[in-house]
Subunit: 275 residues, 2 copies
């Protein structure tokens, strides 16, 4: 999936919403636990209800791995279901991987060959040769952690070097030597407010994947004010506020309504900035 | 598994070798491909041949995930086989995970509850709340990336802040506020030579997990010279030089010989430092 296709989807759907599939057996409606594969049953219902209002789905690997073999099975079924029924949707494996070259190569194979998702989130700590193996696939994306949404983002990402350059800024600059805005995006937490201005100065044309709206406290309006560019340039994720808005048998309908509300807020923002 | 048990194993086996289970279907002896589960068949043979000479096994998650459901199945069987037959061995899930709190919690459940390994490698980029969820399990370990063995370790880990503190030093110092040497270890690449002296100044009592001997070019003698402490304090990993030393039907015997050679070199080092 290339950048133009993502922008087309945003214009067409009037949305830049990503639905995070953080599917937790302890939180899904209890009637689903009788299904043969409760995780997939939940995902399928959520996808069918929300697909008109979003442009991407982001399964969070932790939630599948913690169910072992059954979790991986449910993840593969979810990816295949999306590929077959909603081929226009971007699929982001939120995995935050990163290892020495030959190991990152194996992770790249996992996500881009074995599973055929469009993008994978990658952690930058181990540097260039931990990231570049993910870049050898046409139409596939690396989404590199830059400035995350959590409190711990202050621990190392904000550390300034001798020239006053913060670590997340260094990650943004160095990584642009490895790939351009057609192959790389950055994770920037919605909770980071005005840091978006700084990020847009360093990466004006890159798409940013933005978690942290909702449960984590970020504001959509601020994210757009400081982070939107002329192609939108934002993919804003929401997981919990959509997935777990309702726990009755009606959960998918309510999830669809929540996604639609977010799409409508996003449409206002797109219009505000003339997109 | 607590620190005393690890030290007892080192004294008893006269070894601080960890065998990395980077099991790659493209590299294992071809006759195993006829087995129902070639990955597990390979691991089982390697484990039976090398167990007398090592104190830990480190499955590298990437190599299992890239086989999808079958890979996870093989990984679970390998962990269960070790638990049942070699309960004295430490099992390290080399996963390099790290995410916001609720997601790290799911990864912790994956490795410490669903799979019951002893330790998991964790990436520090996202800070304290991405690491602490792994620390809530008695007898389980976080092995935090400090200074890795690859070329890309120079990109960010060596960045100096205004006070001249390098990022990996900051990781070593800050993380000691989250857990002590009874719950945390650090990854330090064997290729880092004299940096071990600096690391021992900051973390004199912690165990260090050391990859990078062999295929990556690190020297066991240097690692011991600069990194060993009075409890040994080192777990040195080797993967490829043991696993793929021979590709005939005799592969396990040769792997055992290679592990034994390493154990003998380690015994010399232990004696040299009076352990």
């Amino acid at each position: 999936m290339n950048k133009e296709q993502i922008i087309d989807q945003i214009r067409c759907k009037r949305s830049f919403l990503c639905v995070g599939l953080d599917t937790d057996l302890k939180k899904i409606p209890t009637h689903l636990l009788d299904e043969e594969d409760p995780i997939f049953a939940f995902n399928k219902a959520i996808i069918d209800a929300t697909a008109p209002y979003c442009i991407a789905y982001k399964p969070n690997l932790a939630f599948y791995e913690c169910q072992g073999v059954e979790g991986w099975n449910a993840l593969e079924k979810t990816v295949n279901y999306l590929r077959k029924n909603y081929p226009e949707q971007m699929i982001i494996a939120d995995a935050k991987r990163g290892d020495i070259g030959n190991t990152s190569q194996m992770y790249a194979r996992t996500f881009f060959e074995q599973m055929d998702v469009d993008a994978v989130t990658v952690a930058p700590y181990m540097g260039e040769d931990s990231v570049t193996p993910f870049l050898g696939y046409e139409g596939k994306w690396v989404i590199l952690l830059a400035l995350t949404s959590n409190k711990g983002s202050m621990d190392f990402q904000m550390t300034e070097d001798k020239e006053g350059e913060k670590l997340f800024q260094k990650v943004l600059c160095r990584s642009q030597e490895w790939a351009d805005a057609n192959q790389m995006m950055y994770v920037v937490g919605a909770t980071q407010g005005q840091a978006f201005e700084e990020i847009r100065r360093l990466a004006p044309n890159h798409f940013l994947l933005v978690p942290g709206i909702g449960a984590q406290g970020g504001s959509l309006e601020d994210v757009c004010k400081y982070g939107m560019n002329k192609e939108c340039g934002l993919i804003v994720n929401n997981s919990r506020a959509i997935l777990y808005a309702d726990k009755s048998e009606n959960f998918a309908v309510v999830a669809g309504q929540k996604a639609r509300e977010m799409q409508q807020m996003m449409e206002i923002e797109l219009e505000r900035y003339g997109i």
